[in-house]
Assembly symmetry: C2
Homo-oligomer: 336 residues x 2
Amino acid sequence: MPSEALTVDQLDEKALLGRIFPRLGPDTALLGPGDDAAVIAAPDGRTVISIDTLVQDADFRLLWPSGYRTTGFDVGWKCVAQNVSDIRAMGAVPTSLVVSLTLPGSTEVAWVEELAAGLAAGIDSLAFERCSVVGGDLGRGSQIVVTAAVTGDLEGRNPVLRSGARPGDVLAHIGSLGLAAGGLAVLESNVDMANPGDSEDHVLAVLAMAQCRPRPPRTGAGPEAAIAGATAMLDVSDGLVRDAGRIARASGMAIDLDAGYLASRAEQLAPAAARLGADPLAWVLGGGEDHGLLATFPPDAVLPEGFVRIGEVTDGAGVTFGGEAPPAIGWDHFAG
Amino acid sequence: MPSEALTVDQLDEKALLGRIFPRLGPDTALLGPGDDAAVIAAPDGRTVISIDTLVQDADFRLLWPSGYRTTGFDVGWKCVAQNVSDIRAMGAVPTSLVVSLTLPGSTEVAWVEELAAGLAAGIDSLAFERCSVVGGDLGRGSQIVVTAAVTGDLEGRNPVLRSGARPGDVLAHIGSLGLAAGGLAVLESNVDMANPGDSEDHVLAVLAMAQCRPRPPRTGAGPEAAIAGATAMLDVSDGLVRDAGRIARASGMAIDLDAGYLASRAEQLAPAAARLGADPLAWVLGGGEDHGLLATFPPDAVLPEGFVRIGEVTDGAGVTFGGEAPPAIGWDHFAG
């Protein structure tokens, strides 16, 4: 990149905000950015809230061994994806984000502008029409840290907790499984991924982008699961076995995963995994960051579109895989 | 400190959370920590929200030139003080905090435990009985970054914006002025402040602690100002002249500061400033981080207890000091 690129230490806070705000998309708040705080609607008298952070060199690299350079757009998009997933997992609809950016002075202003565009695109493409960035904070630091807090509206429904699974419930999932983990392996490998769009290895490029710009299931999936009677739900952010274990523990139940079905999901990733010398089942069972939803439903529930049965809830404790202990592979690596 | 001190890289996330949660004080949420997101009450159908970050070496030093070591308690307390000030400045009451901690692996666990205690003490001592830490996030980074998002309840009132000041309004302030700026000067000096409690220089010790653990005015001050008819209000976080300028600009008005009164406030700090070779008026006019409230009221309003008249609103633009240009000293230094 040219050495004359404008960096954030050449702008004051007001000038940098002037680059960011026009890229954030339409403001949906009762009172948007510009005062000490924003005001958002909470029509049912409750607000759902969560917070999540992306840190350079812990959650992403600016330059990966594969040659891929993480863009500001990637980080903005991923910030939206991971934050709103927590709101959807409660059965709620995202209503606002507040975003704090900690940036080294050497960060290029263009990178920050892309980050703002990635936030806006993430909100728009994941189709949260009631949601926007309503406030933020800017500061300096030795590495890039992007923190967002996200709010949501339960629309009069009860929140879907992790603790409500009952014996005989169906365990169901919607979303990708193992793609982001595979993408992490691609990015960390010596495969040339400097320009994924030009890569002749389309499968590996798709995996890499699933890591950089995860595509959670459609907006409505969380609320639809709540309406369909989901007894427990969470966002799969740390891997299927680990997150299924959280439902099992919170509910005081056991969960058995459908080994045949999950092996078939892994089989689709086998050619890519073979290229990298990796185990695709470890990606499916242990990989996080796809931000699918894992939910339990009563046995007679009609699963919302896109949810697939991947196991069942029984009396007992812990997680099994086709009745056996899950293969002890992979998930500690992804747990962070 | 002993080399065998337990550090965060020796604990997994669950174990570290197990050290933090018991120190956070009573949970006031409808649904507190432990699920994908928390649920808080928003009884009037709106939620006020803001976000603010403290970064090591930008907002605080772990070891200051004066020998003072910033404690986790200081950072937790200051995190609460600066975040809730933004909510009070809207005339609202704080209802929850979500907190993201980015920590180097070498951070001592005891320091993090103190931070949790500082969050709890800040919430308790600043008397926000409806408020608690309802969620969080933990991650690794090269320096300590503490981000909190804070929510508030307007209790049926309109939010007090920066834009409502009218000609003839009284400009009033509640809180400290210049103490935190003086404390920054103390901490950055060669004065021995390794143990402020043992310091024979009580004035300088008070200033140092005003920087490390700012004491904003009492909880009720913001809502009381709203009820008393405040036409504009903000949190003084970047210095009196700069923040008065924000009200002036947002309202399309001029503000004249009471030079005599503010000079008398500076006079109280003169002995301490003289010790450090500093200008106390620069602290009063340019210093931020005291987190007082600056508000405008109609001429016939009864000011809530503790608010002091420090100027007036007139037609025009900009900020004057006794009718003259403000002394051009100090505020760029504190602007960050």
